[in-house]
């Protein structure tokens, strides 16, 4: 393996601007991780207008920092308040809060921070080794393979995640339809523009992501009944004892490996990884009854795994051009705004961008370790900020921010419309994630489908005769048919006594 681009990547990271935006990113990530309310996908969407003025590599370094930083921050509220700041820290609640009640909040936070750092770092090393290989294989992919891959990616993200599978796939279909608005690249026909000039070039990604994720989430939170935030438990010593570290070292190792693998799978990601790692440790434990009562492994495993997964979920995005989850879809959008289309060529054609972003994660993880151990008290104080104060500020940042992209009031209208749509989707159980993901892949998918049909001279069975696209489509059919078939079988079994 030629190491010089990797080393050049470190040069990119060490440029002062990039270091600064890496720091800004991880601090924002920590803060939104601590604050309940906005998740990383929403925060990254809201900050998209800010990144437009930056270099592509700088902006992705910052956005990536927000994503993995949030994994660190989410732990703090899980342990101290029994409120998971992020979905990926839900399982940390059980043992983390139990430890906090035993006066060992510091131990739990310390172990979580060390596990997160270890998991994150292992995952970056593995990513550095694996990503160029994957990209190398994918370089031979033609339009048919890309069509199959994009279809499978969208389906996996919609069905693997929690929530209503059917509704998630419906949301994805809506995203694909929204992507067709505007002038058709092949025939020049205007599609679904209703003679509106602003729609002729298609819908912009920024107002859609900001509306569905940002405003939609804020509006949805308005309906929650208010409850006073309880005072956090005092945090004394964050350095974990040697015995605790020794006890959780196995969990940290296994969590890193499991998290890395699950993070690569589309639809897997940090939440699934944290659940699986917790379950694995509990099954392996000699005394499983300790879990839920303050087992340090019960904190170490999920926190390590969610960080490892957050990092490795960059692999499908940066090597295949397929985002593995909602946050990656927004980062995909950010790359497209900068005129970079993520895919197998990225490693060879944009080595500074690729290695700059990957290597910035080492620095980011070191910064996060510092913030999570000596400076943890500072972030605990953020818990006193009331969500009611932040909501109007976030709304105004969104409305003004979206305007700055094109200096067009129509974009503000769009962001409000998609904010309302996002609220209604959440209200009725539709995850907006698959919609945004499908929207971002939509035109590329249509493009490669039509190119494939040209290659096959109009014969759709051509997809099945090419080995890679055939296998991918076979998996697609399996994934699509398995859940309804299983549900039907179990219902039939339930009927027969």
């Amino acid at each position: 393996m030629d190491l010089s681009p990797v080393i050049d990547g470190f040069g990119v990271v060490l440029e002062p601007a990039n270091l600064l935006y890496c720091l800004i990113g991880v601090v924002i990530g920590m803060v939104i991780g601590v604050l309940p309310g906005l998740g990383p996908a929403a925060t990254i969407a809201i900050l998209l207008p800010v990144t437009i003025g930056l270099e592509p590599v700088t902006s992705i370094i910052m956005l990536a920092g927000i994503f993995y930083g949030a994994q660190y921050g989410g732990t703090i509220t899980s342990v101290l308040l029994r409120l998971p700041g992020e979905a990926s820290s839900v399982v940390t609640v059980f043992d983390g809060y139990a430890l906090a009640r035993q006066g060992k909040a510091g131990t739990a936070l310390g172990i979580a921070a060390i596990g997160s750092f270890f998991g994150g770092t292992v995952s970056i090393v593995a990513l550095s080794l694996l990503a160029p290989l994957v990209a190398g294989v994918a370089l031979d992919f033609g339009p048919p393979e890309y069509t199959a891959l994009a279809l499978l990616g969208i389906l996996l993200v919609s069905t693997v995640s929690s929530g209503h599978r059917l509704k998630a796939v419906i949301a994805a279909c809506l995203g694909l339809l929204l992507a067709t608005v505007g002038r058709d690249g092949f025939t020049g026909a205007e599609r679904f523009t209703f003679d509106n000039l602003s729609l002729a070039d298609g819908l912009d990604f920024v107002p859609i992501a900001m509306g569905l994720f940002g405003l939609g989430e804020i509006l949805h939170n308005l309906e929650e009944r208010h409850r006073a935030t309880p005072a956090p438990v005092a945090v004394a010593n964050v350095w974990p004892a040697k015995a605790d570290l020794k006890q959780s070292s196995g969990a940290i190792g296994r969590g890193s490996a499991l998290g890395f693998v699950l993070g690569i799978l589309p639809g897997g990601g940090a939440t699934l990884a944290s659940l699986a790692a917790y379950a694995l440790e509990k099954r392996r434990a000699k005394e499983p009854e300790r879990f839920g009562r303050g087992a340090v492994e019960g904190v170490a495993a999920p926190e390590t795994a969610n960080n490892a997964a957050a990092t490795s979920s960059f692999i499908p995005l940066l090597t295949l051009g397929i985002p593995a989850n909602a946050t990656m879809a927004v980062i995909f959008g950010a790359l497209l705004i900068h005129g970079v289309s993520p895919g197998p060529q990225l490693v060879t054609q944009e080595p500074e961008l690729f290695w700059g972003v990957v290597n910035s994660m080492y620095i980011g993880n070191i910064l996060l370790l510092i913030m999570s151990i000596p400076l943890v008290g500072l972030f605990v104080k953020i818990l006193r900020v009331r969500a009611t104060l932040l909501a109007p500020i976030t709304v105004l940042i969104t409305l003004i921010g979206v305007y700055t992209v094109n200096n067009d009031v129509f974009d503000i209208v769009l962001v409000i419309v998609f904010g309302a749509v996002g609220y209604l989707m959440k209200k009725f159980g539709f995850d907006p994630g698959p919609l945004v993901l499908a929207f971002v892949l939509g035109s590329l998918l249509e493009d490669s489908l039509r190119r494939s049909l040209l290659i096959f001279d109009g014969d759709p069975t051509g997809f099945l005769t090419r080995p890679i696209s055939g296998v991918l489509l076979a998996i697609f059919v399996l994934v699509a048919l398995l859940p309804p078939v299983r549900a039907a079988l179990s219902r039939r079994r339930a009927r027969q006594p």
Partner: protein, 185 residues
């Protein structure tokens, strides 16, 4: 998706999961505790209406793409891809309608939904007037409504807060970054 994110104000009073609880149960319990703060689940009528709306959307897209021209596999026209997607959408929405009785993840509209509507109205007012009178007045109004009526802050916090926010936005966006957002001063 991995980031629902909207995990606000969870429940501290929920019982701790006993040790023998399975992982799925425990996760379910945490989700349940968070759910307590949300409006109750919607009934089968709402679920059916939602499915029907999706069917209508799909049907409209279906007709729209048909009128664009579908073409053939050899010479696909502009409407082919949206047509295929709309067919899938309509089929899935019909399945959703058939299974509407069994879905339980939609929420009922509650009194809190009026707050959401009020929040949307402040944004619509903002976009309607921003080009004519600048961002300062509608932004202050939006901020005040959100703080006082949607966030239940006190009058003093709300007034000082909204004035402060607008001043800060003016300094950052207009004075420092010279963003061309329409402004009064």
């Amino acid at each position: 998706m991995t980031e629902p994110g909207s995990r606000s104000n969870g429940d501290k009073t929920a019982a701790d999961p006993p040790a023998e609880l399975s992982l799925a149960d425990a996760v379910h319990e945490v989700e349940q505790a968070e759910h307590d703060l949300r409006p109750p689940a919607a009934g089968p009528v709402t679920n059916a209406v939602v499915a029907a709306v999706v069917i209508l959307l799909g049907a409209a897209a279906l007709l729209g793409s048909w009128s664009l021209g579908v073409g053939s596999a050899r010479t696909p026209d502009a409407g082919m891809w949206p047509f295929l997607v709309s067919v899938v959408l309509v089929v899935l929405a019909v399945v959703l309608l058939v299974t509407a009785k069994r879905t339980s993840d939609a929420e009922r509209f509650s009194r809190g939904s009026w707050l959401v509507l009020a929040g949307l109205v402040t944004m619509v007012v903002f976009v309607a007037v921003v080009e004519h009178i600048g961002f300062e007045i509608p932004a202050a109004l939006l901020c005040f409504v959100w703080l006082r009526f949607l966030g239940h802050e006190g009058w003093r916090t709300s007034i000082i807060g909204s004035a402060g926010v607008v001043a800060a936005f003016y300094v950052i966006f207009v004075a420092a970054l010279s963003v061309p957002i329409p402004h009064l001063f």
